[in-house]
């Protein structure tokens, strides 16, 4: 926080009014409306009868919804490991002095995050296809693992591998580059002399990654985890494009379930309840992940650093007061 400059409340208000108003109108008013609709038996017309907590009672018993919630958690876990984990490894590789064409890898790596999720779903659906897909073509024609395409796995049936794993791969693929760039940025702020001295001391690549880089960019990794949780709790597009939640409801996620309830079953009241539930559950998961990270990933060094930071701020404030009293400003 700044101590020397303190704009008037009026100025802050003037600056913040427009963005906050726009944000609240577009993001929170519909959510509040959904909160209200969630208490009605609204079937998608002008008639909305108050139905009390009936929708919430239904939600608690709704196996499909909780199964979807489980699938969202699966996606979160898969993407934290896949996106952030692989991105971290790739960053370590890219930063090695043995690697060439660094800028090309960065440019190409980030490319998938520029295309729409619907398009990604469409492309991956074809990659997974049993008879004409790329994966099976590779397995059959290149590796000769199967006699023909018809004997190769039907990936989108979820028989060869769990369907949620199959669906997380495109998501991971799409956003590795995004996290790679964020981690790269944190990486670039590490003092290279630390790494060099570690190398001279005989630390190998893995040790350097685990004991030096990881602790130094931990905060950035926290940010990545938060973004990853937020993104995957509301996952929709690529799953909609690939399986529509199928086979059956085995790959259903919460947002898609809410969408289906609203549009396919015209249970808009219940659909609204689901939206509210997604929001609340996402908050809980984010809160939970922060708590876990703070408890298990903070070591004494961090605590010490936080203490020092607080002390420094306090000192600065005191100095400020002193200066003010001295009438220097």
């Amino acid at each position: 926080m700044l101590n020397t400059i303190k704009p008037r409340g009026r100025v802050i208000f003037a600056y913040l009014f427009l963005p906050v108003a726009l944000f609240v109108f577009t993001v929170f008013v519909p959510l509040v409306a959904a909160l209200y609709y969630g208490f009605t038996d609204w079937k998608g017309g002008p008639v909305k009868n108050f139905s009390g907590l009936a929708n919430y009672a239904q939600l608690f018993k709704d196996e499909v919804f909780w199964h979807s919630f489980g699938n969202n958690l699966y996606l979160v876990a898969a993407c934290i490991i896949g996106q952030i984990g692989i991105a971290f490894i790739l960053v370590m590789l890219i930063n090695s002095k043995l690697v060439k064409l660094k800028s090309i890898h960065r440019t190409f790596g980030f490319f998938p995050s520029t295309i729409s999720a619907l398009c990604v779903g469409f492309v991956w659906k074809m990659i997974y296809d049993q008879r004409t897909g790329l994966i099976n073509w590779f397995l059959v024609d290149v590796l000769h693992k199967y006699k023909g395409m018809k004997d190769a796995p039907i990936w989108l049936n979820g028989e060869a591998l769990p369907i949620m794993l199959i669906l997380s791969i495109p998501l991971i693929w799409q956003y590795i580059g995004y996290y790679m760039v964020i981690i790269l940025s944190a990486f670039s702020s590490i003092d290279t002399s630390v790494l060099e001295s570690a190398e001279i001391d005989g630390a190998n690549g893995l040790q350097r990654a685990l004991y030096i880089v990881f602790p130094l960019i931990k905060n950035t990794l926290f940010v990545c985890v938060t973004l990853c949780v937020a993104g995957n709790m509301k996952a929709f597009d690529s799953i909609y494009a690939m399986t529509e939640g199928g086979p059956g409801t085995s790959s259903m996620v919460m947002a898609l379930y809410g969408y289906n309830q609203s549009f396919k079953s015209s249970n808009l009241g219940y659909g609204s309840t689901i939206s509210v539930a997604i929001f609340v559950l996402s908050l809980a998961v984010i809160g939970g992940s922060q708590f876990l990270l703070n408890t298990y990933m903070t070591d004494d060094y961090d605590k010490e650093e936080k203490r020092i930071q607080r002390k420094r701020e306090k000192e600065a404030r005191a100095a400020m007061k002193k200066r003010m009293k001295g009438g220097r400003i």
Binding site: F23, S185, A255, I278, I286
Partner: protein, 295 residues
């Protein structure tokens, strides 16, 4: 003697290290090359598939086109229902305006939340962050109702609202993190020189934040350009205000699917953004790397 053998050992060791480094280097290079290939492959595949005919594509989805044809593209541009040229203009206007507002708002809000202490600072920060958790797709109907009641649906400016609002949280998050990394001495020095808050904000902080703002502009341009759900629900497929992703949905009928043509349609949607990306990729990545969240 002892010392001589020691020297030899060191030499041997360095030779072994060189070999090891060479091997490790090639393994690392191969891994990264594979990764890059995987990332870029779908684009290449779509490019050459979109110039195949449907028949040829159905026979083999992987093979190169034997007789490339741009018929798919001609059909798409000639389609009167789609009105692609008009849609391109609309998409560009919407994207440019949204990006401008996102950059301006996130800069101001991000900076204030990061540097100015006032009572509502943390509550506002949390509120913006919560915006990242809103399940957009299951809130489409309430959103439409709100816009319809206020007569703001089906206007040329309608889409600016969701596009700006839903891109703000991450943008503010990024600016806030970036500003944290700027030494406060910069503003303190300015204030000692008698700079007002406004001047400090726009003539001192703004230039410093350039890299992160460019980054934000680019990522939000991608998401605004590609957005489909809000466009579908909030604006009718009214030729005057339709956007490209919406216009191109005309190419999937209920009972027909022509994959090469759909690929051509997707490539047309992506084209401006992909060109922008590859032309400015160095700068974009640099901005991301220089600017992105410092935790």
């Amino acid at each position: 003697m002892g010392s001589a053998s020691g020297v030899q050992a060191v030499k041997k060791g360095s030779g072994a290290i060189r070999v090891r480094d060479g091997l490790l280097g090639s393994v690392m290079n191969i891994i990264l090359a594979l990764f890059s290939l995987m990332c870029i492959f779908p684009l290449v595949w779509m490019l050459y598939s979109s110039v195949k005919t449907k028949r040829e594509f159905n026979t083999s989805v992987i093979s190169l086109p034997s007789k490339p044809t741009i018929e798919n593209y001609i059909k798409i541009f000639a389609n009167k229902d789609a009105n692609l040229i008009g849609a391109m203009g609309n998409s560009m206007r919407t994207t440019l305006l949204s990006v401008f507002l996102i950059v301006a708002f996130s800069f101001i809000v991000g900076y204030i939340l990061s540097r100015v202490s006032f009572r509502l600072n943390r509550p506002l920060y949390v509120m913006f962050l919560m915006g990242m958790l809103i399940p957009v797709h299951s809130l489409l109907v309430p959103t439409y109702i709100i816009f319809n009641r206020t007569n703001m649906a089906n206007q040329w400016y309608t889409l600016l609202f969701p596009y700006v609002a839903f891109n703000l949280p991450v943008a503010i998050f990024l600016v806030e993190g970036y500003v944290k990394g700027i030494p406060p001495e910069l503003e303190e020095a300015a204030s000692i020189d008698g700079c007002s808050f406004n001047r400090t904000l726009f003539s001192i902080i703004l230039p410093v934040c350039r890299p992160i703002l460019i980054t934000i502009a680019i990522i939000s341009a991608f998401s605004c350009w590609n957005e489909f759900s809000f466009a579908l629900v909030l604006i009718s497929n009214n030729k005057a205000i339709t956007t490209v992703p919406l216009a191109l949905k005309n190419f999937t009928g209920q009972f027909s699917s022509d994959y090469p043509k759909m690929m051509a349609a997707m490539l047309i949607t992506m084209a401006p953004i992909v060109l922008l990306y590859f032309i400015f990729s160095k700068q974009i990545i640099k901005g991301m790397v220089a600017g992105a969240v410092k935790g």
